[in-house]
């Protein structure tokens, strides 16, 4: 695998959330990907099973995990660190910078609970390698509140009860923040379209859309 490819062009994120062929895949990405693909093909999904492996990591290799020195800004704070090449951005944030606000609902680009902003664009941090964030600015849900002031969107989420279990909320907030930065007076349809990649199994969709609209001043009372 050509691990250098992603380092050379860190700003070229793949359009889709599927791991790119040739890019460095973590074992989990590999397994999840093959499991899903093989399942559709009607062949035994792999489910982490040790049969007919193609890329077994020998024990001695597991110790020497390649790392890359990266520099990135998270919620305005600059971080320089040696990231393991296999870390996702979500792992970097949650496990190594101790920002646990973004959540892992699926770790495979289906649910959007891990959404953060990368240079202002909403991305799935579960499907973005940490090294791809080199030189870039990340904003997480923890970075919305400034000096004890919630954003109007956060306040609207409170007032309109837009969080039920709250697990998808960080992702909904980040995608909606990015959308509002582009379009300060969206219609309900535009909000739904923008947030389509953020699932809410509590299915609190009505309240989320109402909250986003209310934060722009165009929504009614709760």
């Amino acid at each position: 695998m050509d691990r250098k490819k992603s380092e050379k062009e860190p700003r070229e994120l793949p359009e889709s959330h599927e791991p790119q062929e040739g890019a460095h895949l973590s074992r989990r990405d590999f397994l999840e990907g093959t499991g899903a693909a093989l399942g559709v093909a009607g062949v035994a999904p792999r489910l982490g099973v040790a049969e007919s492996r193609t890329a077994v990591v020998a024990p001695q290799e597991a110790e020497a995990v390649p790392r890359t020195r990266i520099r990135l800004t998270v919620n305005g704070t600059e971080h320089r660190l040696d990231a393991e090449d296999r870390w996702t951005l979500n792992e970097l944030l949650r496990d190594h910078i101790e920002l646990t606000g973004s959540k892992i609902g699926c770790n495979r680009g289906e649910c959007g609970a891990c959404t953060v902003l990368l240079d202002g664009e909403p991305i799935y941090s579960c499907s973005t390698l940490a090294v791809w964030a080199d030189g870039r600015a990340v904003q997480t849900v923890e970075g919305l509140e400034q000096d004890g002031e919630l954003t109007p969107l956060q306040q609207a989420f409170i007032d309109h009860d837009a969080a039920q279990c709250g697990f998808c909320t960080p992702g909904q907030l980040m995608t909606a923040t990015a959308m509002l930065n582009q379009n300060s007076s969206p219609t309900a349809g535009e909000v739904r379209e923008a947030l389509v990649g953020n699932l809410c199994r509590c299915s609190n969709y009505n309240a989320i859309v109402e909250a986003v609209l209310a934060s722009t001043g165009s929504g009614g009372a709760p």
Binding site: R27, R28, E32, G42, A44, P45, L47, G48, V49, A50, R53, V56, V57, P59, E63, V65, E84, R86, R94, E98, L99, T100, G101, S102, K103, I104, G105, C106, N107, R108, E110, C111, E142, E145, L150, Q154, F157, H160, D161, A163, Q164, C165, G166, F167, C168, V191, R192, E193, V196, G197, L199, C200, R201, C202, S203, N204, Y205, A207, I208, P222
Partner: protein
Amino acid sequence: MSQEQASRPLEAMNTVGRNVPRIDAYERVTGKATYTRDVRLPGMLYARILRSPHPHARIRSIDISRAEALPGVRSVVTHETHQLIYSSGSVAGGRQYNDAAKDITTHLRYMFDNPVRYVGQPVAAVAAVDRHVAEEALQLIDIDYEELPFVIDAERALESGAALVWPEGNLALDYQNQARPMVRRVGDVSAGLQAADRVFEDRYTTAFVQDGQMEPRSALAEWHGDKVTIHTPTQGISNCRHDNARDLGLEDHQVQIVCKYMGGGFGDKNGSYYFDLIAATLAKEADAPVLLELTRKDDWLGTHGRWHTIQDFKVGVKQDGTVTAIQMHGYSGMGPYLRRSGGISGIEVYACPNTERIIYPVHTNRMVSGNFRAPSDPQGFFAMQSMMDDIAYKLGVDPVDFAKQNMLRPTEDVRFTNYTMEECIERGAQLFDWQGRRRPEPGSDPGPVKRGAGMSFMMFRSGVGPSSAILRVDSEQRYTLFVGVTDIGPGAKTTMALIAAEELGVPLSQVEVVWGDTDRCPYSVGESGSRTTTQTGYAVVQAAIDLKEQIAEAGVPTGDEVLIASATPTPSTQGRRRMCFGAHFVEVETDVRLGHVRISKYVAVHESGRILNPLPARDQIRGAALQGIGQALHEDLLYDARNGHPLTAGYYGARHLTHMDAPEIEVTFIETDDGFGPYGAKTVGEAGIILGPAAVANAIFNAIGHRMRDLPITRDKILEALS
């Protein structure tokens, strides 16, 4: 109040009945809410589970030596190293804490079983210094499987010659260890069918629906000597503690369960499973805290969802529209382990004097079925009320009139604490404009986009029962409420605080809630069965009454003094049924060229007693109704019958609703106070999911003139029906 006394609007009380933001809303919108995987302990290891790739196989050998040799691996456990039984191996949910069942059942549920009976069943687990090493170690476990015959179809599983999931046969054992169907007979169904002028027969089927809560299961276990602390998303910390203690061979006080925030439950997280045991076992072996994380696919296949059903009906009707007999013979696909009864409800809401319901809970080599929000109901109501809707049209009767003619009403024998079924239906019909939107002639729109309207109605238990609360006041007049609730989404913590503030007559800001920790909180019934508000909430009322009396007697505490009150009330309705009521009205637009269904109007009317906090109550109904629409139109777990493999595990595959799929749900509450529960509050959480599938299916029939009898009603099925 008399049973049918008309309800009137209730005045808001001081705190209760007004829209109050959740007391933890700030934490939820800033990323500060601490879910299980957000907890970090020093020296914590990460664990992963290896799962069966076969629907049915015996493990001939399992070799963990290569995995154990991988640097960074601290512990590997398999069925050869640990034979723990989870949920104590009892046979049926609802009795899952029944110790006697453990002694008699032959279907024990092992943490790691051999043989494995479904794709996704755990066979081993690894704890390592990080999750990548743990994942790599899974690849180094060598297993020799002997593949066994398997069965996927629930009906076929009962035919002779079917592959056996268990040696005793594929009909599930009941709690007395007997292989027999669940039978409920009222009156004489044969006589009722003979007395009918017309008899209608049909088969309906419903698909498996995965709860699919956003937070996958995980468990973080840490031992302190012979005590273990388990951080785990559970819908009931008290029951979870008791179950884990028994399964680990400990006393209750040796287990501490902590669950502060939880990313949804819907029944997926009630009842204990193997996760907590695996984390505790690995932590013991590795002598370090262990965080076990389930992947989404692990969670999808390794937990449970709503049981799929096959339902055969015979309904007898007089010429005047009176239903004289209802017979339903059903199959519930339970997977290889019985986590819940497999019940199918729906007949009970009719006054029909002759009914027979026979349900076969069947074992297959699919994944396990279990609780999902109103476990027995949406699938049963879909079939029963599709059947009745069909009969109404065949008799040329308005389905609303047919429902009102045949629904269960209060009698001297059937007593309710109050009854608002008719009021819910009439209010819904009016708000929806039933007369204007329904097509008297189904499928009569010229098309290609045809509109139609459908409705359904329900009553659902809203029982009373025991739970506990402790309330303390200090000299600063700070009130601390200790309740063993977790907050899975409906806002239990806030509701408990509201009730305390109301009863104490103090501002909400003076009440602090201690929750989600068995070392700090008394018993609570748990966030399942829609019982927290009615049962734990009632305990809060009683504790507050006690504390007020203490304050009246002894005065407000001074200095370091505190006053403490506790309550464990055991209320009773003295034989009366306490139910919540609801009616849903749906209009759809069906594009007959594409088979596409769009919900163009959805009205939900509910009577759930007094509504304590209107905003989250409304959103319980809206969210549940949308989940019902998902069940009606999208969700399924398809299996390849040739190899026993699941094909649509995950959100994309199952097509759970997105923002783009979600119509606006219009919710109206009819408020009452029947004198039970906290200020007359009844259940809300499960009620909203029951009616969607039936109402949507009936609306589709009204739009296209073809009865859709199999959930989910996907485009291909509609196009096939129309072709």
